[in-house]
Amino acid sequence: MLRNRVIPTLLLKGKGLVKTTKFKNPVYIGDPINAVRIFNVKEVDELILLDITATIERREPNFEKIREIVSEAFMPIGYGGGIKTLDEIEKLFRVGIEKVIINSALFSNPEVAKDAAKTFGNQSIVLAIDVKKDFWGNYKLFSNSGKNKQNILIADHIKKNIDNGCGEIFLNNIDRDGTMIGYDVELIERYSRIIDVPLIVAGGAGNLHHFAEAIKAGADAIAAGSMFVFQGIHRAVLLNYPKYSDLEKIINEVL
């Protein structure tokens, strides 16, 4: 029976990988090609690779680098960062990316999701939702790596983009990013109800029990950064991934 996917998220900044906290303070953690090789050996379910400066620097994805990174990875890889056009999406699929993850471009050009879904299928277009709570405790939507607040209702934005053909949602709480204190269960519960496509959640994972909480709240897939790249209280860099049997055990307990 299908098991919930568990997905390491890798953040690309320039030529190296970093890990952020609340989308800030990027700490260098190593070489992306090496990291993907390690996760390949560990047989991870899937990988997410996000270029966190592409949109801010107003440039397209670094196709050559991406090609190099994915050439020896034999699992599905989702890529996000700087994607604006159908042409770029096609190029990403040609170098071996399985899914494209889009946030910022959908505010200026929502049609790009529609066009891409028509050509490549809904399953390959992922809508990224970055949220933060405001002073009054309301969830607000952000684009451009957490820099621009978008004054649109999150639920409306999700519904519109699913209608346009986004076949998966990547829901991230910026305030939990890198904290390892657990996922925002309230956020997941609230939005999983209106999401009828697969939902990947991110932000806050610190241990396997956090996975169980998120799945109970309605997540179909679990993404984590810090947990898979750091070890111990001093956050020493050590790429790791739970054993398949441990994941099966914790996830089966939820079901």
Partner: protein, 204 residues
């Protein structure tokens, strides 16, 4: 040399990456003259059924492909939508399939199960119904990556090699003589998929 048919909408990078890793040569092509010379074919595909069939039509590839498969008996492996294209028809579209395997394609339909999402996306197991060279010396409990909303129903049950359970059992791979199809993505399924592609490239 394995010829990977470029229907213009598939993730070809990961297939060539894996075949390279296995030490085999492949070419990506939608050129009739190259396809006429092909020794073995992989038909990949993502996206919609009609779009894929129309692309094959526009490239004038339907007849050459059918001739290679049905008359020359060239081995072919359809992957995901590529598997579905080998059947007669799909609920997803109006276009006729390649009609090489006596089967049809339907959408997942969960009448009394409400919590399963479509597409079926992620890793799942296969249950082998019949011995087949694609699964020879396979690792224990093989798991494969799936991403699809439609699945194949075989009219000739003897063509079913594996089934997979998602709400109910569906056909996750079929084979008839030189024609093979897998609903999952071997090119993204770690050592399990690599073994399957190795079996295909070495034996066909």
């Amino acid at each position: 040399m394995i010829t990977i048919i470029d229907v213009g909408m598939a993730n070809l990078g990961s297939i060539t990456n894996m075949i390279n890793r296995l030490g085999f040569k492949s070419e990506i092509s939608n050129d009739i003259s190259k396809i006429k010379l092909a020794k073995s074919i992989i038909l990949p595909g993502v996206g919609s059924f009609d779009r894929a069939i129309c692309n094959l039509k526009n490239l004038h590839l339907i007849e050459p492909l059918k001739k290679k498969i049905l008359l020359d008996k060239i081995p072919i492996l359809g992957i995901c939508l590529g598997m579905q294209l080998l059947t007669k028809k799909s609920e997803e579209g109006k276009e006729e399939g390649l009609n090489i395997i006596d089967a049809k394609v339907v959408k997942f339909n969960f009448t009394d199960i409400t919590n399963l999402k479509i597409p079926h996306m992620g890793w799942n197991l296969v249950e082998q119904k019949k011995k087949h060279i694609l699964f020879d010396d396979m690792f224990q409990n093989p798991r494969f990556y799936f991403a699809h909303s439609y699945h194949v129903i075989c009219n000739e049950k003897e063509n079913i090699i594996t089934t997979t359970n998602y709400g109910y059992d569906f056909v996750s791979s079929f084979a008839k003589e030189n024609v093979m199809g897998v609903q999952f993505h071997p090119e993204k399924s770690h050592k399990y998929g690599m073994k399957l592609l190795k079996n295909f490239t070495e034996n066909f």
